[in-house]
Amino acid sequence: MNKNLVMSVVLVSLLAACSSKPVKEEPKAAVEDKSPVATQTAPKAESAPAATTAPVSDVKTSVNPLTDPSNILSKRNVYFDFDKDEVKAEYRPLVEAHAKYLVANPSAHVALQGNTDERGSREYNLALGQRRAVAVKKVLNVYGANDKQIETVSYGEEKPKASGHEESAYAENRRVDIVYAGE
């Protein structure tokens, strides 16, 4: 992982050296990328709230309900139809469970990351991904989650999980991910 990061920094500076016109590089773009990697290696924030969630999971305190495969809270993906932002009925129980978790854990914070498939314009998809994230947030609010615990962000079609160009890939990419702080 670290090697890759170093490689990209080197490539960036190589390119900077190669340009024959006064074009500017922004090495920070590559450098800043280290931060999410760094946060991924510090999952302590995640296990801390887990210890206080006994009432929700009502099992052994050693199991983190957010990652326990048998717990609905481990499910984090809400899927959408093309050009739609309605949270479908089948995903309501999932979103409701996360709302209740947030209510029970006031120190927990969640990011709702909206995504779209690659069809249509990138800017419209950026807006659509945002609206999907907001749609999930509204459902969280209905079940009592506090705005201050929720952040919405859109990646539009820029960060596809599935890389294909067929409906199965499109369906996978029309999605909001529920990501807890520290994950």
Binding site: L11, C18, S19, P22, R122, E123, A127, L128, K159
Partner: protein, 425 residues
């Protein structure tokens, strides 16, 4: 001594640029019904120069779809100035126009480029110019000559000496590049491992505004192409995206979410004076100014599906502009303000369309299925857009009459988000 040092430096830079960035390659399909047969004789020029100017000029003229470039090698006499021309030889080749020229190295190491455009039937000169240039300007001088020929023979200004911008994705690296209109001479403006989208030219062609995800969310930057300096234009809560310059360059229309739905705002070019413009409960995005600055066209799904609307930059109500098709995005105006181009979803395919604003008449221009981000050439004769061929992003150019198509692609890279730059002085 200094001369040697300079030419060495030039060679090194060219070589490195070539290694780092292969140029886009071009394919041309179709052409206008009436093409002007033209003979461009290879220029007399030092063989050490990488390309004969006639090659670049011929390629420019052919790409327009309006010319048929004739093979000149069979003609015994290869003239390089007016005195050497024997008209009957070119009339026999059925050339209507003839171009001759040469490149001479001057004592100060600069180059003198001269050419003549001749009417073969009337046996009369139509144009002739001389350029005193640095060696690095050789290719752009060829584009300038092609522009003179194009304008003289079609009556319209040419766009060969203009530039385009686009994003190229290679592996997990995104590069914002600027290249000549024929895809040659690509320069990397920004390289990042996070996505870059929506580059937009300032009206003077000296700056680009664009959206970068390097801060883990969309933020708008403005970068000078002259000094390379860049600054954040908009980094407000939520998404910051879709920048487009007003025709006078004093401000930009942008799109912000502030955590809710995407709406259009105006902001001064220095990042001050933010003010909200659109107010809807839907998505309002992709603002595009009319050339007279009186309207901002934009995409909105306030009516249920995305369509094009327009409103005054002073505020007020929005008017719907498009009515056909269930999904219309990415509006851009022609330079004369009479035409609108956009992407329309048609039976599951996303295609480039052109709408005449006075009549509402719509013409579909592309045959592909995943077209994005169309923009007009500065003379309004061609539309540049991105499409997908065999799962790879390439650029396409279609003439406004739909008859001529060019494709610019780069092996091993995904090219997207193109925008055609303005004429510069």
């Amino acid at each position: 001594m200094l001369k040697n040092a300079l030419s060495f430096l030039l060679v090194v830079m060219t070589t490195l640029a070539g290694q780092a960035q292969a140029a886009l390659t071009i394919e041309i399909v179709g052409g206008a019904a009436q093409q002007i047969p033209i003979a461009v004789v290879p220029f007399a020029q030092p063989t050490t120069q990488p390309e004969n100017l006639a090659t670049v000029i011929n390629s420019d003229l052919r790409r327009s779809g309006l010319f048929r470039a004739l093979e000149t090698r069979g003609v015994t006499n290869q003239p390089h100035d007016l005195a050497e021309v024997k008209y009957p030889e070119w009339a026999a080749l059925q050339a209507q126009a003839l171009v001759v020229g040469k490149v001479e190295v001057q004592p100060n190491n600069r180059l003198k480029v001269s050419f003549r455009l001749l009417d073969v039937l009337k046996q009369a000169p139509l144009a002739g110019l001389e350029y005193d240039i640095a060696p690095a300007q050789l290719r752009s001088t060829a584009h300038k000559i092609a522009d003179v020929i194009y304008e003289k023979l079609t009556g319209e200004k040419g766009v060969f000496d203009t530039r385009i911008t686009y994003i190229i994705k290679q592996g997990n690296r995104f590069q914002l590049q600027v290249a000549d209109a024929d895809g040659a001479n690509p320069q990397t403006v920004l390289s990042s491992v996070e996505p870059i989208i929506s580059p937009s030219w300032s009206p003077d062609g000296n700056k680009l505004a664009y959206v970068s995800f390097e801060k883990k969310k969309p933020v708008i930057f403005v970068q000078s192409l002259v000094t390379g300096q860049r600054q954040v234009l908009a980094n407000f809560k939520g998404n910051n995206s879709a920048p487009t310059w007003s025709p006078d360059g004093s401000r930009l229309a942008i799109v912000l979410t502030y955590g809710a739905n995407s709406q259009i705002y105006l902001i001064n070019a220095d990042g001050t004076g933010l003010q909200p413009l659109s107010h809807s409960s839907g998505i309002d995005t992709e603002p595009a100014w009319s050339p007279d600055g009186k309207w901002i066209y934009f995409t909105s799904d306030r009516g249920g599906s995305p369509q094009v609307y327009r409103m005054s930059p002073l505020g007020g109500d929005a008017q719907r502009v498009t009515f056909e098709g269930g999904y219309i995005v990415s509006p851009r105006l022609s330079p004369d303000g009479k035409l609108l181009t956009y992407i329309r979803r048609e039976a599951g395919r996303f295609r480039v369309a052109q709408q005449e604003l006075s009549t509402g008449q719509v013409q579909l221009l592309s045959e592909t299925a995943e077209d994005e981000s169309p923009s007009f050439a500065p003379n309004g004769r061609m539309i540049l857009y991105a499409t997908n061929i065999n799962g790879r992003g390439v650029l396409s150019i279609v003439s406004a009459d739909g008859r001529t198509k060019q494709r610019l692609s780069e092996a091993g890279g995904d090219v997207r988000e193109p925008s055609w730059g303005p004429w510069t002085k």
